[in-house]
Symmetry: C2
Subunit: 343 residues, 2 copies
């Protein structure tokens, strides 16, 4: 039979009240007794029954995902995964909320974060672009006891917050390796498109991409990054112009999670000319394009995994436990037509 607190008290030669004091780090316990108890814990292999703890504490956890409003398909997928997790966690006395706020103004984001009632919130997962204001606001939240997760976002990593997401330099490098390998030694140019190069993640991906192209595929040349600013007309224009100026373009790499606009522009001007195309994130659009062989590879980070990982981390931190690192690493996935799996 598994030892209970009662067994532990007996083994340590102390009372249940003292065991309780040690286990829950209550004040007024002598070092001597603390030692006796911790020693007994080791000796008899006592492990707290989490079910009993949860029941006795009768606490409900409250976590919130702070996401952008302006939505590409990846964001929609993300929200769907959060909703899924919300349902699944309802049973476990865990409330999961989604807040969508405009990400254009850093002050706005900071203000929102500052306004969060830290007594009613156990953890927040924030997906927001890098800015000092946001960083400060997040730090203040952490100081007030709210567990924070930097979520899939191009922010500078904070010391006292967890990060969920991939290494974007490595993701870019992976894209570079794929582009270089798939073009089969043909020399030429690579067109690189982003929504904006203001985001840290885009910059890191570009750096990773270039590092591989330069080192391993010197016969390829990465063109300067084109920025669409999410504007369809603008995208059409600059992409068309770039392709015409560079008839020896052999590949396209889309840095941002929204690939529809730039790639539609490419296909409109390009016709059926063979281009190696690599994009980021699995969305209905990229899925379809992979199936149609109009995209060769997608570099992805699984949103479902990311959401669950963020929740597990916030939960662990709330319980003063260490999250299991090996489980929380988000993989850089390489999706081809062949290993796309549906359900």
């Amino acid at each position: 039979m598994r030892p209970t607190t009662k067994d532990l008290a007996e083994a340590a030669g102390v009372s249940l009240a003292t065991v309780d004091r040690v286990l829950n780090e209550r004040p007024n316990v002598s070092n001597k007794v603390t030692l006796k108890v911790t020693e007994a814990i080791e000796r008899i292999g006592f492990v707290r029954n989490p079910a009993a703890v949860a029941l006795a504490r009768n606490k409900t956890y409250r976590f919130r995902f702070v996401l952008p409003t302006s939505g590409d398909q990846y964001l929609a997928e993300l929200i769907a995964r959060v909703s899924e997790a919300r349902e699944a966690l309802r049973a476990d006395a865990t409330e999961v909320e989604i807040a969508q706020i405009a990400m254009s103004d850093p002050h706005q984001i900071a203000k929102y974060l500052t306004g969060i009632d830290h007594d009613a919130m156990d953890g927040v997962a924030v997906m927001a672009p890098e800015s000092p204001q946001v960083r400060d606001a997040l730090l203040r939240l952490v100081e007030r006891g709210v567990k924070a997760v930097q979520f899939l976002s191009g922010q500078e990593r904070l010391e006292n917050a967890d990060y969920v997401g991939v290494d974007n330099f490595a993701a870019g490098a992976t894209a570079g390796k794929i582009v270089g390998s798939f073009t089969g030694g043909r020399p030429g140019k690579i067109m690189i498109v982003a929504e904006t190069m203001m985001a840290l993640d885009s910059i890191q991906r570009r750096l990773g991409f270039d590092s591989i192209i330069n080192a391993r595929f010197p016969h390829l040349e990465s063109l300067p990054s084109l920025e669409t600013y999410g504007d369809e007309k603008r995208a059409d224009l600059i992409i068309q112009r770039t392709l015409q100026h560079n008839p020896d373009t052999v590949a396209v790499y889309v840095l941002s999670s929204e690939a529809r606009v730039p790639l539609t522009a490419v296909w409109n001007t390009q016709g059926a000319r063979a281009l190696t195309v690599v994009a980021h994130e699995r969305t209905p659009f990229s899925e379809q394009a992979l199936m149609d062989e109009r995209i060769d590879a997608v570099i992805a980070q699984d949103p479902g995994h990311a959401v669950r990982s963020a929740l597990r981390i916030m939960r662990a931190r709330s319980d003063h436990r260490e999250p299991l690192a090996s489980q929380e690493r988000i993989r850089i996935e390489v999706l081809l037509k062949e290993n796309l799996q549906f359900e």
Copy 2:
């Protein structure tokens, strides 16, 4: 406040005893009352508190992984992940065991499975080669109430057991796509090596591989599968002979999870000649070879994920819950030097 069984009883206009009968599917409840209760559950949004259930039931779950004895590095990794999970689940009243048995004789495996005490076991995850005896033994286990998972193995899928692992045809196809794309249009032969082609998973990978090579890369020719039978001497011999007979070999595809023996043989005879090399499973060996750029890509299924998935499934089945399919899909990972991540 979250509704309890008491609230539910009140809302349904029945007693707590009746609520208990409905919730736990005890006999002697009229349809009328069952309906009243289920309706009330919907109406007030009642959700059982799993912590309270676990505490009241005070049940310990017992799951066992049945794995092969003869061990390549992937098996070692798998065992490490099971041990990790065992520690993590100790708190949750879940005992995880590992049994290693010789997989050479199907009767032996079947006998072992049949010998499992079905009263003391809630679920088994079996990694064993295909055979009618094993299939029968597994079915009988299931009939006796033990939840079964076909674990990373080349068995024919059973109706009343869950499967954890990748689609091996797709995995082979993915390997084919990588080989075809990475060889850059050079015509030539592909050497294919397996430990044995008796295993269903090897066959399926080969079929998937060929389907892509034939359809998309007709300038490449897949050679007949070489079988090492795990014998180093034999591997050296047949691989050396094959390479000499086929000087136009441009790629090597290792079907089995143990790639060390065949690839060492290849490198010994081949010297520094440029070959595209694709293997399966992430192991210390394949990791190192990826870093050294002696392997170009590894097709992998994450053993940690597989183990946790099997455990979640067995746990869900034991509780008569449906596992969350989207979370349990094992991905076919494509690992390159660039997206290897350590921790």
